[in-house]
């Protein structure tokens, strides 16, 4: 996974929550599922957590995601000002469906686009050798940036997270796949 993909994923993963089918009216407990599979190594990691447990864990997240008014991207000293990011997001919201960023560098592509209520992030490295799909609902980003000044409103984002169902992140490369999604089944019933 190249640096760009990691950076995009690092930014999007904490923000993200779900994709296409938005709110679920069901009163069942929502579960966050994480699947990491490396078939060559015969290695699989499946994590299923009820959302209330995730919410409790996320209470510790603000310090990890952002502190001193900056969003941290990995451990390489790369940061974004929360306020700058808020402004960029504000501008993006006024745009209709559009391709926002498109980078082509040989076989590598990064594409960020807005479609309906979703911010779509697509990264391809080496053709189809490695792909990253992240779908971020606008409502979730709105909630996250609803705090004042340099603060991220993680509490509001968590509240938004409760309403969401579906895929959050999909990463495929030659040897491994990662999928994160939310549904109302405790086990792997929602696995595709």
């Amino acid at each position: 996974m190249n640096t760009c993909a990691v950076a995009v994923l690092a930014l999007a993963a904490p923000l993200a929550a779900a994709s296409v089918p938005a709110a679920s009216p069901s009163g069942g407990t929502a579960w966050l599922h994480v699947r990491v599979e490396e078939l060559k190594q015969r290695s699989r990691v499946h994590v299923n957590l009820p959302l209330p447990a995730v919410e409790a864990a996320l209470k510790a997240a603000p310090d990890l995601i952002a502190s001193e008014g900056r969003i941290h991207l990995g451990g390489h000293g790369r940061h974004l000002d929360v306020d700058d990011f808020r402004q960029v997001w504000k501008e993006l919201k006024t745009v209709g469906d559009a391709e926002i960023v498109s980078v082509e560098d040989g076989d590598d592509r990064v594409n960020v686009s807005k479609k309906g209520d979703l911010l779509l992030i697509r990264v391809q490295e080496g053709g189809d050798r490695e792909t990253v799909h992240v779908d971020v609902p606008s409502a979730l980003v709105d909630a996250l940036f609803s705090g004042p000044g340099d603060e991220l409103n993680v509490r509001a984002a968590i509240a938004e997270l409760r309403k969401l169902r579906g895929d959050v992140v999909r990463v495929n490369d030659r040897s491994s796949t990662v999928r994160i999604w939310i549904d109302e089944s405790a086990g792997a019933q929602g696995e595709k």
Binding site: S43, H46, N48, P50, A56, A57
Partner: protein, 175 residues
């Protein structure tokens, strides 16, 4: 007269048995590959008393030192554990790495941890109450062995551990 003395003498083990049965017994069962079989029943009341008087200061200092780096996350861990305890039953973690498998499942009031490899099988059942008490004490800066043993009273009829390693087999059960 003899009958009265006999009745009094007989009542002592009955009373002791009743107290032990009322407060719980931890049974450690060890079977070695060489055929040795040892069963040690430990009344929880006795274990708790021993743990309270045992010189555990050095161990407590060591635990406290180990906890220093993670102490700020202990309240979060407590909340996560509470949320898991109140949540529905289900498989929380499954790791398959070649011939090695790990499962962590929530089943009622117990967190079941299963580790299997070609050579060994480990099954540990952690009562949520016990884990929460341990975390709560750690957050308060004091882990008391006596209090933890006392918390085992809430884990009656639970097999805390079942470990098979080659030909050796150890079980720890609270009755």
């Amino acid at each position: 007269m003899l009958l009265k003395i006999g009745a009094v003498l007989a009542s002592i083990p009955v009373a002791v048995g009743a107290v032990v049965a009322g407060t719980g017994v931890m049974v450690v069962d060890v079977r070695d590959s060489d055929g040795t079989h040892i069963v040690v029943p430990v009344p929880l009341l006795l274990a708790e008393t021993a743990a309270r008087f045992a010189p555990t200061k050095a161990a407590e200092v060591n635990i406290d030192r180990q906890l220093t780096r993670v102490r700020r996350y202990l309240p979060v861990a407590e909340e996560v554990l509470a949320a898991l305890a109140q949540g529905p039953d289900g498989e929380l973690v499954r790791v398959d790495d070649g011939d090695e498998h790990v499962r962590i499942t929530k089943a009622g009031d117990v967190l079941q941890v299963r580790v299997e490899s070609p050579r060994e099988r480990v099954a540990v059942n952690v009562p949520f109450g016990l884990a929460r008490q341990a975390l709560s004490q750690a957050r308060g800066g004091r882990v008391s062995a006596g209090d933890l043993v006392a918390a085992l009273r809430h884990a009656r009829l639970t097999r805390l551990a079942d470990v098979r390693d080659g030909g050796d087999h150890v079980t720890i059960t609270v009755w």
